[in-house]
């Protein structure tokens, strides 16, 4: 099911869309390190997860609890999406008109699925870094989708923790350098708690 050549047009034949990683809010919040593989302007920016995986795009499902319109000249929307472990900060601006219109339309609270690009930023020099997610798409979903996402994300998180323990992958090595004080085993407990919240 890879992309046929004619669909790729001028793009490199080896083009692959960056997968949307699954990560809980409490892990994403810890990210501080952001990097690119090359100097090329078009090369993707990655945020390094403390469990040792890079992500250029993430897929999250949670409850949209708040949204706010901001800016006068350049209107954009901010929102908070809550999962069992914490809060994602999302935003959609005029560069993502469709996402912004979608976000504007959704009444809180609602279960939402968000596909977006994470980035690390600071409000100013003095403040601590924040991770926000620039929305590519957002859509209302149901509770079952939210539960499926928790299963999916818990599984991916444990996979990463186990790969981290082996400790040979380049991104794992990088994570150990960048996040010396974080022990990924804490995310195993968080995953367990998230799973335990699901009521059958």
């Amino acid at each position: 099911m890879s992309t046929p050549a004619r669909e790729m047009g001028r793009k490199d034949a080896s083009f692959e869309r960056e997968p949307a990683r699954r990560v809980f809010a409490s892990e994403l919040r810890e990210c501080r390190y952001q990097f690119k593989d090359s100097e090329d302007e078009k090369s993707p920016t990655f945020v390094l997860l403390p469990t040792g995986e890079r992500c250029n795009r993430i897929f999250i499902v949670g409850t949209l609890t708040e949204k706010q319109r901001q800016g006068d000249q350049n209107i954009f929307y901010r929102g908070r999406v809550v999962d069992p472990t914490g809060t994602f900060f999302i935003m959609a601006g005029s560069y993502q008109p469709e996402a912004m219109q979608q976000l504007a339309k959704i009444e809180t609270p609602a279960f939402v699925a968000v596909i977006g690009k994470p980035s690390v930023y600071r409000k100013d020099e003095a403040s601590s870094p924040m991770v926000s997610v620039r929305v590519e798409s957002i859509n209302i979903v149901d509770k079952e989708t939210r539960d499926l996402w928790i299963l999916d994300t818990a599984e991916r998180t444990i996979d990463r923790i186990e790969a981290f323990a082996v400790g040979t992958a380049p991104d794992v090595v990088k994570a150990k350098e960048q996040y010396p004080t974080i022990d990924p085993v804490t995310f195993r407990k968080i995953a367990y708690d998230a799973l335990a919240q699901i009521k059958i």
């Binding site: 992309t3 869309r17 997968p19 596909i115 859509n139 989708t145 299963l151 999916d152 599984e155």
Partner: protein, 442 residues
């Protein structure tokens, strides 16, 4: 050569005869071989005095008792090195000349790029020359396999006929885009072989095809929309091992294959594009047969979330011209057949299915779209024609039903076409297993 050994008194005479015949014999060969070599270099833009070549040959043969064929080879190589022409080399050292022409006689399957070869084979297909510098092109086969060939116009080679056998001496095997091809140049000699030898092509499993020429027995699994007006038919062929794309270009006498039917396909061109193989059937012999083939599943199932629904999804209009079926623009414009007011409606969804590790491009066709979104073609038509947003409204409704949700899509690994798709349901067993896994080491 000389058998006058019984009469001692004639020994002087015999010696004279011997040396005369010796010189005479090679005299002819020297100039012929020298001309042959000189012609080879002329093609590379080098003019070399045949006298000089002759001198080198004579030295090797007369002084060093080198076999004439071997001498021709080493002189060619020596000169090629001198003029820095790499392609002139005649393959690996030690592949001693068994053929009279100085190139090794080979089975077609063993002919490797870069080699000079002599082969015997049957012309199984001819193709219209693509350029005036090509006199003839086609496929030649023996019992080991088949290879494409090109006879340069400059080669002045005799015209070969489909169905006849030929001995081709001193042709060059080269390679373009990973496909070997036999080049017949001015130094090549072609002799027709009078007898008609039996030749039964052996078919191979699709999974073992490689770029070049291939014969298979396969079933027509799918027929696709034509993407080019010169295209007669394209689709998918399958056997027990794998599937492969095929294409037939419009040409007098070419007929389309019947979907679902089984064919023996001999000597099709196997091309490679972006790491993917496809069959061009224009040169092939295609014979329908009655059997059936249980086509390899090759099916995979991917579960993940739909992370993008691309423009062009929802309800679309298609060109009504037979075998065209292209999607029309908003203005009912077909890229080939222009404005088509009597279009037909269809449903499709193009998007990305993402499992967190890899993103798969997916294409859902009408029946899959209907079952997934619960919007039938008729309902979609009704929306498209009566809602103020028209077709956009169908897109939005469908997007809202699937974006960000989990589905399992079934399809062939290498394609985006999804033939079945269903929502993922919550399994408490998986939930329990994950709880155990997460709790296990804490």
């Amino acid at each position: 050569m000389c058998r006058f050994t019984f009469a001692p008194h004639t020994s002087q005479y015999i010696d004279r005869i011997r040396s005369d015949s010796y010189v005479e014999m090679y005299e002819m060969d020297f100039s012929e071989a020298a001309d042959r070599i000189s012609r080879k270099f002329q093609k590379s833009g080098q003019t070399i005095d045949p006298k000089k070549i002759e001198g080198k040959l004579r030295r090797l043969i007369e002084e060093f008792s080198v076999q004439p064929s071997e001498a021709e080879r080493s002189v060619t190589n020596e000169l090629a090195k001198e003029f820095n022409i790499p392609s002139m080399g005649t393959g690996s050292a030690g592949s001693g000349g068994t053929g009279s022409s100085g190139t090794e006689e080979k089975k077609i399957a063993d002919a490797a790029p870069g080699e000079w070869v002599t082969i015997e084979g049957k012309i199984v297909a001819l193709a219209a020359p693509a350029s005036p510098s090509i006199a003839q092109g086609g496929i030649i086969a023996d019992d080991s396999g088949a290879i494409r060939f090109v006879a340069w116009a400059k080669a002045n080679a005799p015209v070969m006929a489909v169905g006849s056998w030929y001995r081709i001496e001193s042709a060059v095997v080269d390679e373009f885009k990973g496909i070997a091809s036999l080049k017949i140049h001015s130094g090549t000699t072609i002799k027709e072989i009078e007898e008609d030898r039996a030749l039964m092509p052996t078919t191979v499993p699709i999974s073992e095809l490689h770029p070049g020429i291939g014969s298979i027995r396969a079933k027509v699994v799918q027929e696709w929309d034509a993407t080019h007006e010169r295209m007669l038919q394209s689709g998918l062929l399958g056997d027990e091992t794998d599937t492969i794309d095929f294409v037939i270009w419009k040409e007098p006498g070419k007929e389309s294959l019947t979907p679902g039917a089984v064919y023996n396909i001999f000597y099709a061109q196997v091309d490679e594009y972006n790491g993917r193989l496809s069959l061009n059937l224009n040169t092939a012999m295609v014979m329908q047969e009655d059997g059936d083939i249980a086509v390899s599943g090759g099916d995979i199932a991917v579960s993940g979330a739909i992370v993008h629904v691309a423009p062009g999804s929802g309800i679309i209009k298609r060109c009504p011209v037979e075998r065209c079926n292209r999607a029309l623009s908003r203005q009912n414009y077909c890229p080939v057949h222009e404005i088509q007011p009597k279009f037909t409606y269809d449903l499709r969804i193009k998007g990305w299915l993402d499992n967190g590790e890899k993103t798969h491009s997916v294409l859902l066709q009408r029946d899959v779209v209907e079952s997934l979104t619960g919007i039938s073609l008729d309902a979609a038509k009704e929306i498209a024609e009566n809602n103020p947003l028209g077709m956009d409204e169908v897109f939005l409704q469908m997007r809202d039903k699937i974006l960000g949700r989990y589905f399992t899509c079934h399809g062939r690994e290498i394609e985006r076409l999804v033939n079945k798709c269903e929502p993922v349901v919550f399994e408490s067993g998986k939930h329990t297993a994950l709880l155990n896994r997460a709790g296990g080491a804490s």
